[in-house]
Symmetry: C2
Subunit: 426 residues, 2 copies
Amino acid sequence: MAYYQLDETKVEDYVKNLPSMKKIFSSFDNLETKEIGDGNLNYVYFITNKDKPEETIILKQAVPFLRCVGEDSPLSKDRMNFEIMALRKESELCPDLVPEIYHDDKEMALVIMQNLNKHKIMRGEMNLGKKFPKMPGHMATFLARTMFFSSDWYMTSKTENWDAMGVEKKERVKEFVNGELCTLTENYIFSYPFYDQETNEYSPDLPQDVIDMIQKDGALKVAAAELKYKFMNNAEAMLHGDLHTGSLMVNEEETFVIDPEFSFYGPAGFDVGLLMGNMLLAYIAQGYRQKQLGNDPKDYRAWVIDAIKEINNGFMKEYDALWKKHQDEVEYPYWNFEGGAEAFAQLRKNEIIRIFKDAVGIAGTVMIRRTLGLAKVSDIADIQDTKARAELDTEALKIGRQLLLNYKNIETIEEVVKIAQEVSPL
Amino acid sequence: MAYYQLDETKVEDYVKNLPSMKKIFSSFDNLETKEIGDGNLNYVYFITNKDKPEETIILKQAVPFLRCVGEDSPLSKDRMNFEIMALRKESELCPDLVPEIYHDDKEMALVIMQNLNKHKIMRGEMNLGKKFPKMPGHMATFLARTMFFSSDWYMTSKTENWDAMGVEKKERVKEFVNGELCTLTENYIFSYPFYDQETNEYSPDLPQDVIDMIQKDGALKVAAAELKYKFMNNAEAMLHGDLHTGSLMVNEEETFVIDPEFSFYGPAGFDVGLLMGNMLLAYIAQGYRQKQLGNDPKDYRAWVIDAIKEINNGFMKEYDALWKKHQDEVEYPYWNFEGGAEAFAQLRKNEIIRIFKDAVGIAGTVMIRRTLGLAKVSDIADIQDTKARAELDTEALKIGRQLLLNYKNIETIEEVVKIAQEVSPL
């Protein structure tokens, strides 16, 4: 079917004509459709049978421009292909952590999936002081499984045909070349925030010398440039590509990762670092926000720190365990010698620390770009008191700067937390 | 034209029917065709007008199997696409350092090019003790230009449309995914030599404890595994992929790089390291060979060492200069701040050292794989005295081991030479 852009009327006709939707909806007679309209890039519709509200879906369609900017800002609707490919792979690896896909249509650049109407966007919930005790474990699993199983450590040794090792992974990398969206990341995360670029937005009371602390620090800019280059070149694992706290739909029991349209093959530390950076921004923001809500900020912030530790330590532990289990299964003869088990353990340790170091650098970069760059996080940017906001922005920049300057020497999440708490004590 | 395999008769008919060949041959009446038959992978024909011997071409055709093993070992003839793409790009960047292409035909998996009949394969000439004073400078230029101009440092900042930065490079990476040939490299260079794999061949008098020094050293195997992973994942620059001294056609004045069918996007240190490793193997071999020829080995080996230094220092210097010149042209505003020039210089230095370190690791790996793996170098492997050969093999393994174990800390070619000369004094 040739592409056309849906609207609230057309979307119902589209859905009614799909055989697969008969499994979801017992009747199409009394559908209700709402476009939620809060996406930066796409159109998202909730479609519900008003007679049986449990019969509900979400339909997401890409349009050939950047929605938040307008039709003058073209962006290929092919990005939906990446979302579909990533969702399918993620649900194979972590079926309980991504929404169920009911239908996809590459021509129409759309996907129909489970409506997570018992879940809310985690960022907003964190701004209200809600805790999600199972989220850290879920995210550790999501990160470990998507990174390990898409990497060469798994993919090139899962076949008995050694001569074909590596070919399948390379074909995946090729399919996942997501040039347009990666270029957005390269510019808006790694470059623009680091000089006085026209798309940047600085919060009104943020002092110039704090901005200069980022934009005029040679060593910091070298580190950002090196990390950008890694991002552009190291195609090691299938990433979500935009894994912030606004890409998680949560409740007390469940965690769902949504919106993987930025998915591509990149450094395994990238998603880990995006989440780390966003959780650290929440840590900073909640010092102010929880006080405003009349809560004890210490209690909530201590949970945020615990969650950060659990996500990262859990990720490292699970990645290691998956790798070891895989080797036990395939028995790659390379490690069959006296001391081989220890050497293999050393390789795993080296690699996991390398991934973690990259993640720390990315976390620092994220904290900087969410403060000086175009796209903000509501945690801090929605605070109306501009003086208070500038103080939080300053904390974010100081922590981000420390992480980015020192990431090559930071091997544990405890060191990261120490740096954050030195700037912003609990 | 559908693919068919040429032979000495068919190849003449093929050539005669090409309009472009009328520019080369004034007459097709008295052609002489010879299949040289020394390729591992392909068929290579020399075709010459016997009446005017200066009218001569070389035609190289891929067959859908690994020639050196036979029809039972399938290998896609698509590899010729990679050779054609790489040759075209290399001749754009270094027109004097690759043969001129007269014709290519992807369907037929063949290329017709300049017959370098005034040049000889450098490996064989080095075994005879010949010096090529201009080769090191030529190779420094070849390495610097192919690495820099295919990398993101150049490709993502050469456009005024910053939003499109990076897209073209990613499309090139995609075109250059060369799964089958990369898998050969991964197995035969980075894996098999490091354990007792069935395709390995050990020279008859090589002691088991010397083999074990490689195959049972945990730290060394960890280093090899990490380097293999980098090779598989870091798509930074367009590589030749097989840049040994047998891929160079030389005379006193000129140097031509041939046979880039292993070309792909990989770590920029890879080609540098392949050449470094092969030159070090020549250094080792010539201690014995030049003595056998009645020459003073010191004199020739000193030239080899000088050539190694000149290639590597020249590469580093030229890469830096190309990058600086490019920035002067594009004036990327990222570096416009007080101290910006120094920071940019620091980035270049860091990156060039990173590339060099990778090259050292690769050189070590190459020395090991050419000694324990399937594919040997004639420099050492053609020596008939098996005792002498085993001693040279041992030197190669000792140097290779040192380089691979320590590559992350080796920043200059002088340190590499020192390690080589400690094991194998001039």
